[in-house]
């Protein structure tokens, strides 16, 4: 794609951990993407922001254990608005046994601690075209 990929990045719900979300935002910028950083938001507001910003990708960062309850909600709300083409990614501390269910509910991928930015970026580029 010739234009930059647009990513809306949020810390999911009230999760206080910000290092990962900010680090990934910066690194995706350095990969040539445009990253709109929202800070902490709940699914409804994240989806509204994705609509307004014309996002290609929604990134959710969560280390606080709310991934099962809030993550799939984002996908569901996007689908309700007819925006199932937006890629939804999660990252942070998410127990491996929770990942299959998240994927089943439409989370495209989950990136845990120590994830490499090249993997995240190439996953995004592979899906968004």
């Amino acid at each position: 794609m010739s234009r930059p990929i647009k990513v809306v990045m949020a810390k999911l719900g009230l999760d206080i951990h910000w290092r990962g979300a900010v680090a990934v935002s910066r690194m995706l910028r350095d990969e040539g993407m445009e990253v709109v950083y929202l800070g902490n938001q709940f699914p409804e507001q994240i989806v509204n922001a994705a609509v307004q910003e014309g996002a290609d990708v929604v990134g959710l960062s969560t280390l606080g254990g709310n991934h099962n309850s809030l993550g799939p909600k984002v996908v569901e709300l996007l689908r309700k608005k007819g925006l199932e083409d937006i890629l939804v990614l999660m990252g942070g501390v998410i127990p491996p046994e929770d990942i299959p269910a998240l994927k089943e509910k439409g989370i495209a991928a989950v990136f845990g601690p120590e994830s490499k930015i090249v993997d995240i970026a190439s996953f995004i580029r592979g899906k968004v075209s």
């Binding site: 930059p4 910028r29 040539g32 445009e34 950083y37 902490n40 507001q45 307004q52 014309g54």
Partner: protein, 307 residues
């Protein structure tokens, strides 16, 4: 909201559909009051924008916000962080926020800003706020999209204001010294007031206000002043006159951008002209003579309507 979101995405990315949208919305614009918020980096533009927006939204108006942040010159990416200062707006259904990266445009806003304003306007926004990137001395393109420009500064930026001076006197309708909780605010206010008096050319006398955006202090006065400027524009017919001028200016900007692009493509793909280019590269021909030859070769007038 979904329809506007989709439309703006096309316009932002300058797709063929985006051009269609611009064509079809051009006659529907002209109602919204477009307010520009500009000033040096980190002075509180986003925080102030959020507060103003909140007032208007609470009055039941439909508000559009366009926040521009710089694209990194190295990798072409951008971190668009203005929304983080406007989190209280996220739950308001009548506020629509669009973040734009400059994508190489100089002048303090993105090249697509004017088009995005137009489409928001056509979609019925009452007020559209445009927050520029943090500006230095020469980035005042916000004038070309906004009816009312608010220039924000902070105490202790006296020197910066001096360097801005040449440009700002013609730009801003309202001056704000934000972060007035910090020392030196009154000095900054009187400095600005002095400069305004020196350049008393227009019938509009800009005021200088003090605000503490984080505490929502002085922001209501700012709102009043912005509204007062709108009344002034309407009473003096500048509301219409300025828009006319802006439309024409936009035309010339589009011509120049599009011309530059087509020109580069033409030269790159034309073998004859490439010969001249490489002669200049090798230092055998001076750039002035080469440019003259190339331009003479280019300008063949075609009648309007045909190409």
């Amino acid at each position: 909201m979904v329809a506007l979101g989709r439309a703006l995405k096309e316009v932002e990315n300058q797709t063929p559909l985006g051009y269609e949208i611009i064509k079809h919305t051009v006659t529907k614009k002209g109602n919204a009051h477009v307010v520009g918020v500009t000033g040096p980096p980190g002075v509180g533009k986003s925080t102030l924008t959020g507060k103003l927006c909140r007032f208007w939204a609470d009055m039941g108006l439909s508000v559009g916000v366009i926040c521009v942040d710089p694209t990194s010159p190295f990798k072409g990416g951008a971190l668009l962080g203005d929304r983080i200062r406007m989190q209280e707006l996220a739950k308001l259904p009548n506020v629509f926020i669009k973040s734009l990266a400059t994508r190489g445009n100089v002048g303090g806003i993105a090249a697509s800003t004017g088009d995005i304003v137009q489409v928001m306007d056509a979609f019925g926004k009452d007020i559209i706020i445009v927050e520029t990137v943090g500006v230095g001395q020469v980035e005042f393109d916000v004038m070309d999209v906004a009816d009312t420009v608010v220039l924000v500064t902070v105490p202790g930026l006296g020197d910066t204001i001096q360097t801005l001076k040449a440009g700002i006197m013609e730009v801003a309708a309202v001056y704000v010294v934000n972060q007035a909780d910090r020392p030196g605010a009154d000095e900054s206010v009187s400095d600005l007031q002095m400069m305004i008096e020196e350049s008393a050319a227009s019938t509009w006398k800009p005021s200088v206000l003090k605000t503490v955006a984080i505490d929502n202090d002085g922001t209501e006065q700012l709102l009043d002043e912005v509204e007062r400027h709108k009344e002034y524009l309407k009473e003096t017919c500048l509301w219409v006159g300025n828009r006319r001028e802006r439309n024409i200016k936009q035309l010339f900007k589009v011509i120049q951008n599009s011309f530059k692009q087509q020109l580069n493509e033409y030269i790159e793909t034309n073998g004859e002209l490439q010969k001249l280019v490489s002669q200049v590269g090798e230092g055998k021909l001076d750039p002035h003579s080469a440019a003259e030859d190339i331009i003479a070769n280019l300008i063949r007038k075609t009648p309007l309507g045909g190409n």
